[in-house]
């Protein structure tokens, strides 16, 4: 039983991180018909921005996270849309998909070149206390991962369903329109 609880909790914690990446991927598809092959790199880059903020700019952790959020918004939001999506989308979905493959490579190689290719230790955002729950070790990190993910996904749903800018992000047509001659 303890093993089941352990695997359940650890699985949920790790899975919630992947769920965030998946939600980002889906949102991009819904809002702009973009299949983003660089989604993995989109998840990686903000983490490296935090490290840049801390190691190169000497910022404490939370200001570095703020710095990373602003930079990510500018690069992965504004710059991505203006420089990749807008020029490529008029040519169809496939050219855009191929462009995101290239973008993924560019981002990965740039980080390797300008920061480093080896794994980097990342500072602990949450306290590292571990609790014993029915024989399973549940850390504050696990609980917080889950909480932050659910908060992010919940907030995103509210934004998409209850606000005007959110409604604009949703696709206008849900069902495909068939040519009249097929009816």
């Amino acid at each position: 039983m303890a093993e089941l609880i352990q695997i359940l909790v650890s699985g949920l914690a790790a899975g919630s991180i992947y769920a965030l990446a998946a939600v980002g991927f889906t949102l991009l598809w819904q809002a702009s018909q973009t299949i983003n092959f660089a989604q993995g790199e989109f998840v990686m880059l903000p983490a490296f921005f935090v490290l840049v903020g801390m190691t190169m700019l000497g910022l404490p952790m939370w200001p570095a996270i703020g710095f990373s959020l602003v930079l990510s918004l500018l690069i992965l939001g504004v710059a991505f849309k203006r420089l990749i999506v807008e020029p490529m989308l008029p040519h169809g979905t496939l050219p855009l998909v191929i462009a995101t493959i290239a973008l993924g490579l560019l981002m990965k190689e740039s980080v390797k070149e300008f920061y480093g290719a080896t794994a980097q230790p990342f500072p602990a955002i949450f306290p590292q206390t571990v609790y014993n729950l029915g024989g399973a070790s549940v850390s504050v990190q696990d609980i917080c991962n889950l909480a932050v993910s659910m908060l992010a996904i919940g907030s995103l749903q509210l934004f998409l369903n209850r606000t005007a800018p959110g409604a604009a992000c949703r696709p206008r047509r849900r069902t495909p329109r068939w040519p009249r001659s097929w009816a």
Partner: protein, 375 residues
Amino acid sequence: MFGKVTGTAAIALALATVPAFAEIKIGSIVELSGPGAAAGTNFRDGVKMGFEEINAAGGVLGEPVDVEEYDSQTDPQVSRAMVQKAIDDGVYVITGTVFSSSTVVNMLVAKQAGIPQFTGSEAPSITAMNNPFIFRTAFGSQKGVPKLVRYMTEEMGVKKVAVVWANTEFGKGGHTAFVEEAAKAGVEIVADIPTEQAQNDFSADVVQLKGVEADAVFVYLTEEESARFLREARKQGITQPLVGETTLIGNKVIELAGEAANGAMGHVGLTPNADIAAMTEMVARFTDAYRYTPDHNAIKGYTAAYAIKCVTEMIGSADSAAFAEKMHGLTITAAECPGILMDVSWDDTGEMSRESFFVEVEDGKQVVKAVLPPN
């Protein structure tokens, strides 16, 4: 006028085709990206520093050494292509790769071309494939593991062991060697847990450990996976000693695992914390130049550079075939070749013998507990 121009052009062309003063080229083919980047970068920097020092002191046989770097991306097929590329570029000796899965594939290319290769890999199969051109920079696990098992049974009194290993060429080699030695020493294996390269989550594997009664856990994973494993083991409260080889307690692992690395123990062929003056000085110079503490892979690369220098000077010319022949059955002492740091011998298969150390991580540093003689 036309005649003068063509005449000048012809002379210029002729001069251009005269071969430049012959340089000694070394192919440094390592994992600079992918899961092996930690190990490969260390090895590359060790080779680089070794040859920078050698060139500053006048080069090899009075000629400067040119080190060409190639990234194998921790991919066996890419590493094979890079070895071919290095050979096409005219290298004299190859240093690398570190990951055994890559070495078993790419060393066949070097063997066909007759180019000696100093590898950082430890899988036993590498020196069991009749390759006269492969030479180790750290002894294989079939040599290291018996020393480790002897220490575990005689000094630690271990009778029951759980084994966690990576399902790669490297991991399989260590696992097989350990299981054989444990059987000979009468040690019971109470759990056998295989894991994957680049595995992110070890919670299920550590859960299995909690359910067994073991005196110690033998951990045989590569660097990044070791760090993740140590963190998970600490989180789930594993109290049994975690014992491994160099990949469990290297400096990069200590950096990535943080506090979770304390208490981990390992048998290491090389350690920056050994009480050897030449080693301590090399580590200090490296840390100064590259801004990080070298791990055993950097020391492997450094000793490879000096082995190449000293052996080339022994044979008197940059002859790849003569180099390979000289290496078999050779012993180089630190007295005659200071850059080699410790006395080392190679046998006919390219396997090496050297003193080694049993260390424990205390407060983020490797502390030497015992010095084990060469076998």
